[in-house]
C-alpha cells in the first residue's frame, strides 16, 4: 500500500488537473486551442499541395488533380486560419473521444482523421478530403445526447472513406456543359448524402448506440435554426426593486414554429428531413444487436461539453450583432448559472450593443424580421423591437448597471457601464432632468398619495388628511415632483435609473459629455468660418494629429490576394504573403519601429499561444467590420486586455494587398480607325498601366477598441515586395513622425 501511495498521489494530481482544466462556468472564458499546434495549421498550403501531388489520384489527370488539391487545401486552410477554428479544446477533445469510440475497430482509419471545432452558430459538420472533420459549436449546443454527435460524425467519416469530395469534383468536372446543372448536381449530391447516412449507420450501430437517437438526430438538424431551448420569456423578466417595464412592450402573441419535414429539396444539396428519416429507418431495421447507449462518456461530460458550446454561442452571436439571440440564450443559461460573471459581461455587452445599434438606426441587424419570428425566442426579438430608443437606452443603462453592481470589481463591466451611460446621453431626446430620483413603483405609490391629498384638499383640511409633515406637503405641492393624475407607463424609462442619476461618476461622465458636445460645436463653428484653404490645412493637420507616434505595434496575419486570369492565384498569393511580411520587417527595422508579427507564417514558432492570440484579434476584426463605424466593444475585451499587456503595445495593424493584371483598352480607342498609326502609339499604354494593386492597412487602438487610422493605396504596378515596401515606408514614415 505504501508503495502504491506515490502512484495514487500521481493519479490524484492527474485527476485534479483534469478537473481543474475544466471550465468553471461562473468564470467562463472563451474556448481556446490547447496543446501542440497540429501541422494542419502551420504547414504552408503549397507544401501540402506539393506533398499530395506525389500520390496520383485515380480518374483525375495531373492537371485536374492539381486544381482539386489547390481547391481543397487552400479552401480548408482559409477556414483553419479564420480565427474561428480551435483544436485541443474541451469540445474538440470530446468530439475526438466520440470518434475514437466509433472507430474502435478501425485504428488505421482513425489515425487518418483529425477533429476540430469551429465557432459558428450554424448547426453543421463537414469533412474534407485530407481527413479533417470539423464540427460547429452550434451543432454541439443543439444536440441532446452524445449519440446525436456520434451519428453525425459517422456520417462525416463516411464522406471521407467514400471519397465523396474528390468524386464530387470529378462529377462537376466531367459534367460542366450539362443542362440544368444545378438540378443534376443536386441529385448527385443527395445520392452521396443518402450514402453517408446509410453507411454511417453501420459505424453508429457498431459503437453500441441506441437506435432511438438515429432519427431524432434529424430533428436536431431540422430545428437547429431555433434557440437552444424553448422557454417562455416572462413579461416581468426585467422587473426588480429599481426597474419596472410595462407588459405592453412585450410580445402580445405566441410565434408558431413553421418548419416542415417534407420541404422541396429539388435544388438543395441535401435531401429533406422526411426522406432522410425514412431512409435511415429502413436501413436501421436491417441491423441487429442495437445497443442502448445514449452517452458512452456519461451525462455529466456531455452536459459539460454542450454547456461550453452554449456559452460560446453567446459570444458568436455578439460578434455577429445578433443581440436578441444572445440575450435569449443568456436568459436560458442564467437559470442554471445565475452567478456567472461571463453571462453578466455578455448581457452587458448585448445591451450596450443594442443601445448603439438602435441609435444608429440599425436595430434590424440584431432582431428577426416579423416573417422570421418563430418559437419562444421570438418574444425576446419582439420585446427589443418594441422598445423606443430612449426606453432602450435607459433600460440598457439599468441592466448594465445591475451587472456591474453584481461584480463591482470587474474592469470589463465598469468600462461597459461607462460606455452604456455615454450611449444613453447620446440617445435621442435625452434630457437628464426628465429622469426621476425614484423608481416607478414608488412613484406610483406617491401618485396615489398625492391624488388622495388633492382630493382631500378639496373636501377638508389637507393638513389633517394624511400623516405627512407640513414640509412634505409643501414640497409635493410646490415642486410638482409628483403631480396628480397617473404616470404614463410608456415613460417607465424615466424611473429606472434613480440610483445612477445621483451617482457622482454618472454625473461626471455627463459633464464630460456636455463638454465634448460644446467642444464639437465650437469646432464646427470655427470650421464653417474658415476659407477653403484654411479648411484644407485644417484637415491635413487633423490627419497628422491622429496618425503620429506609432512606435510599436502587433501585425496580425497580413494577407495577399493575387488574381490570375480572373481567379485567385492561391500559390502566388501565399508566396507573396511571406514577402509582404518581409517588407513589414524591413520597413519597421529601417524606421526603428518595434513590430511583433502574429500570423500563419510564424505559427510554427509562436505555436498555440500565437494561434490563440491571432484568433482573438481576428474575432475583434470581424466584429469591427460588421459594425462599420459603430463604437465597438470587443467581445473578448478581458482577454485582449491581457494580450495587450503581454505585447506591451495597444496598437494592432491589419493589412491586405490585392492585385490583378487587367489591361483595359479604352472604348475611345475606336477613334483610331480614323488614324490607325495612332493606335500603335496608344497600344502600349493599357499594358503599362494594366496592373491594379491595392494596399489597405488599418491601425486599431486596443484601448479605445476602434480603428484610429488607416491607409489605402491604389497603385498600378506589378505586385512585388519592393513596391509594397515603398508604400509601407510611406505609411510608417508618416505615422512615426
Amino acid at each position: 500500500m505504501i508503495k502504491l501511495l506515490p502512484l495514487l498521489s500521481c493519479l490524484f494530481i492527474m485527476f485534479s488537473s483534469v478537473v481543474w482544466s475544466q471550465q468553471d462556468f461562473n468564470n467562463f472564458k472563451p474556448l481556446v486551442s490547447k496543446g501542440d499546434i497540429p501541422e494542419d495549421f502551420f504547414v504552408r498550403t503549397s507544401s501540402k499541395v506539393e506533398q499530395d501531388m506525389k500520390n496520383q489520384k485515380e480518374d483525375l489527370t495531373q492537371k485536374e488533380q492539381k486544381i482539386f488539391l489547390e481547391g481543397v487545401h487552400y479552401g480548408i486552410d482559409e477556414i483553419l486560419q479564420s480565427g474561428l477554428v480551435i483544436y485541443g479544446d474541451d469540445i474538440s477533445n470530446y468530439v475526438t473521444k466520440v470518434a475514437n469510440k466509433l472507430l474502435e475497430k478501425e485504428p488505421k482509419l482513425r489515425n487518418e482523421l483529425r477533429f476540430y471545432t469551429i465557432k459558428s452558430n450554424v448547426t453543421n459538420a463537414f469533412s474534407t478530403d485530407q481527413g479533417i472533420i470539423v464540427v460547429t459549436t452550434g451543432l454541439i449546443s443543439q444536440i441532446t445526447s452524445e449519440a446525436h454527435l456520434a451519428y453525425i460524425l459517422a456520417h462525416e467519416i463516411t464522406h471521407y472513406t467514400e471519397k465523396h469530395v474528390v468524386e464530387g469534383f470529378e462529377y462537376r468536372t466531367r459534367n460542366k456543359g450539362v443542362n440544368s446543372q444545378i438540378e443534376q448536381l443536386s441529385i448527385y449530391s443527395k445520392e452521396k448524402e443518402f450514402e453517408a447516412d446509410s453507411l454511417g449507420i453501420k459505424l453508429f450501430n457498431n459503437a453500441g448506440y441506441s437506435r432511438n437517437y438515429l432519427t431524432s438526430t434529424f430533428d436536431v438538424l431540422m430545428y437547429s435554426y431555433l434557440p437552444i431551448d424553448e422557454l417562455k420569456f416572462p413579461k416581468d423578466y426585467y422587473n426588480n426593486n429599481l426597474c419596472f417595464v410595462p407588459k405592453f412592450i412585450f410580445a402580445d402573441k405566441d410565434y408558431e414554429i413553421k418548419v416542415e419535414e417534407d420541404y422541396d429539396d429539388s435544388r438543395s444539396s441535401h435531401p429533406n428531413v422526411r426522406r432522410r428519416k425514412d431512409k435511415a429507418t429502413s436501413i436501421a431495421v436491417t441491423y441487429k444487436n442495437w445497443g442502448e447507449v445514449s452517452n458512452h462518456f456519461g451525462d455529466k461530460e456531455f452536459n459539460y461539453t454542450r454547456a461550453l458550446a452554449r456559452f460560446e454561442r453567446i459570444r458568436t452571436d455578439i460578434i455577429n450583432y445578433q443581440y436578441a439571440n444572445a440575450l435569449y440564450t443568456i436568459f436560458i443559461l442564467e437559470k442554471e448559472y445565475p452567478n456567472s460573471l461571463y453571462l453578466h459581461r455578455m448581457k452587458a455587452q448585448c445591451w450596450y450593443g443594442l443601445s448603439i445599434v438602435k441609435h444608429a438606426n440599425r436595430i434590424n441587424r440584431s432582431v428577426m424580421t416579423n416573417k422570421e419570428m418563430e418559437g419562444e425566442g421570438a418574444a425576446m426579438h419582439a420585446f427589443i423591437k418594441n422598445l423606443k430608443e430612449p426606453q432602450l437606452a435607459s433600460l440598457a443603462a439599468r441592466i448594465v448597471e445591475d451587472c456591474r453592481l453584481a461584480f463591482p470589481e470587474d474592469a470589463e463591466l465598469k468600462e461597459l457601464g461607462k460606455r452604456t451611460n455615454y450611449a444613453l446621453f447620446e440617445s435621442d431626446n435625452f434630457v437628464l432632468s426628465k429622469y426621476k430620483k425614484i423608481d416607478f413603483t414608488t412613484a406610483m405609490e406617491k401618485v396615489i398619495d398625492a391624488d388622495t391629498l388633492r382630493v382631500d384638499a378639496e373636501v377638508a383640511d389637507p393638513l389633517e388628511t394624511k400623516k405627512l409633515s407640513k414640509y412634505d406637503r409643501i414640497r409635493i405641492k410646490t415642486t410638482g415632483e409628483i403631480t396628480s393624475a397617473s404616470i404614463d407607463s410608456s415613460d417607465f424609462h424615466y424611473y429606472i435609473i434613480p440610483d445612477l442619476i445621483e451617482n457622482d461618476d454618472f454625473l461626471k461622465l455627463y459633464g464630460e459629455y456636455q463638454d465634448n458636445i460644446e467642444r464639437e460645436e465650437k469646432l464646427e463653428r470655427e470650421y464653417i468660418a474658415m476659407s477653403r484653404s484654411e479648411r484644407k490645412k485644417h484637415i491635413e493637420n487633423k490627419q497628422s494629429e491622429r496618425i503620429t507616434g506609432l512606435e510599436e505595434f502587433v501585425l496580425v496575419d497580413p494577407a495577399v490576394i493575387s488574381y490570375k486570369n480572373g481567379k485567385i492565384d492561391l500559390p502566388g498569393s501565399e508566396a507573396m504573403e511571406e514577402k509582404f511580411i518581409d517588407g513589414f520587417e524591413f520597413v519597421t527595422d529601417q524606421l526603428d519601429i518595434r513590430m511583433t508579427t502574429i500570423g500563419k507564417g510564424n505559427l510554427d514558432k509562436t505555436g498555440t499561444v500565437g494561434f490563440n492570440n491571432k484568433s482573438f484579434f481576428t474575432s475583434m476584426l470581424i466584429q469591427m467590420s460588421i459594425a462599420d463605424d459603430l463604437d465597438v466593444f470587443p467581445v473578448d475585451y478581458s482577454q485582449i486586455d491581457k494580450i495587450k499587456d503581454e505585447f506591451g503595445t495597444n496598437k494592432l495593424v491589419f493589412s491586405v494587398v490585392e492585385h490583378s493584371y487587367r489591361p483595359q483598352i479604352s472604348p475611345s480607342a475606336l477613334y483610331f480607325i480614323l488614324f490607325p498609326p495612332g493606335f500603335l502609339a496608344y497600344l502600349p499604354v493599357p499594358f503599362i498601366k494594366g496592373n491594379e494593386t491595392e494596399l489597405n492597412l488599418i491601425v486599431i487602438d486596443l484601448d479605445k477598441g476602434k480603428v484610429i487610422t488607416g491607409a489605402n493605396y491604389y497603385f498600378q504596378e506589378p505586385l512585388n515586395q519592393f513596391s509594397i515596401e515603398a508604400r509601407l515606408y510611406d505609411i510608417f514614415h508618416q505615422k512615426k513622425k
Partner: protein, 286 residues
Amino acid sequence: MIFSTKKRSNKMNTVKSIFISLCLLGLSENSYAQNSGFIGKKNILSVDGRFFVPVFHNFGKNESKKYKANGEAFEPARNLLNSGINITVGRTLTNGMAFLIQGNYSRYKMYAPNYVYHKDINDYPNSFQINKSTFFQGQSMGIMPIIEFAGTGGILPIGISHQIGIGFYKNTMRNTNYLILAQSTSYSSSQTLDLFTTEDITNLDYLTIKSYSFMYKFNLRIPITRSLLLNVGMRYNINRTKPVPYQYDSATIDNHLIPQFNFRDMVAAAHLNNLVSLETGISFVF
C-alpha cells in the same frame, strides 16, 4: 456537410473580405504632401534606351530613298526602328512631384532631300534631282529639364508618373557618306544621271540645326531591388526646328551639297516621324 439549412444562418465571411470592407471606411490619407521617396531614397539616376517606330512616314512615301549602300550598289532597306539614349538625374520634391534633368542622344534615319546642289566649274549653282538615295543618318543631342508628377498611387520615384519637359537639341549628320543617284536639272548641263557619294563632293559636317522639343511621357518605374528600378514608358514629342532662311544663291550654297534649310526640313520630317517612342531602362535610386 451534414445538413444544409434554409433558415437563418450566420455567413462565415472570410477575414480578407471583411478586412476590405473595413478599409472602405474612408480612412485613407493623402501621402502626396510628404516626401518619403522610395524607402527614404529621393535621388534618382536613370539610363533609358529610346526606341522610335517611325510609323507615320513609313507608308508608301519616299520609296526612292529607302536604300542602304552595298558598295556602290543600292540595296532596299526599311526605316523600322530608330533609337536613342537618355541619362537622367533628379530628385523628388514631394511624393507627388519630382524635378529631373535629362540628357538625350538619339539617332534617326532621314530621307534624302529631293534636290542637292553643287557649283559647276563656272561656279554656278546647279541643282540635282535625287532619283535614288540611301537613308541619311541624323543625330541629336540635347538637354531637357523635366517636371514629373506621380500618377495613380505612385510614390515618386516609383509607380506610374507623368513627365513634362522642354528640351533643347542640336541636330547633326551622324555619317557624312551617302550614296546618291541624281540627275542634273540644269538646262546647261548634260542632263545625265550620276551616281556619287556625298563625301566625294563635300563633308556634311557643316549641317547643324537647333531644335526644341515639348515632351510628355507616361512612365512606369517598377522596383526590382531596393536600389534599382525598371523603367518603361511611352514618350510623345512635339519638336520644332529653328527656322533657317530659305535661299540657295551662290553664296549660300557654295560647296554645300545640302543647304541648311533642306537639312532643317529633313530633321523636321524625321522628328515628326519619330513622334512616339517607347523607352525602357533602369534607374538607380539613392
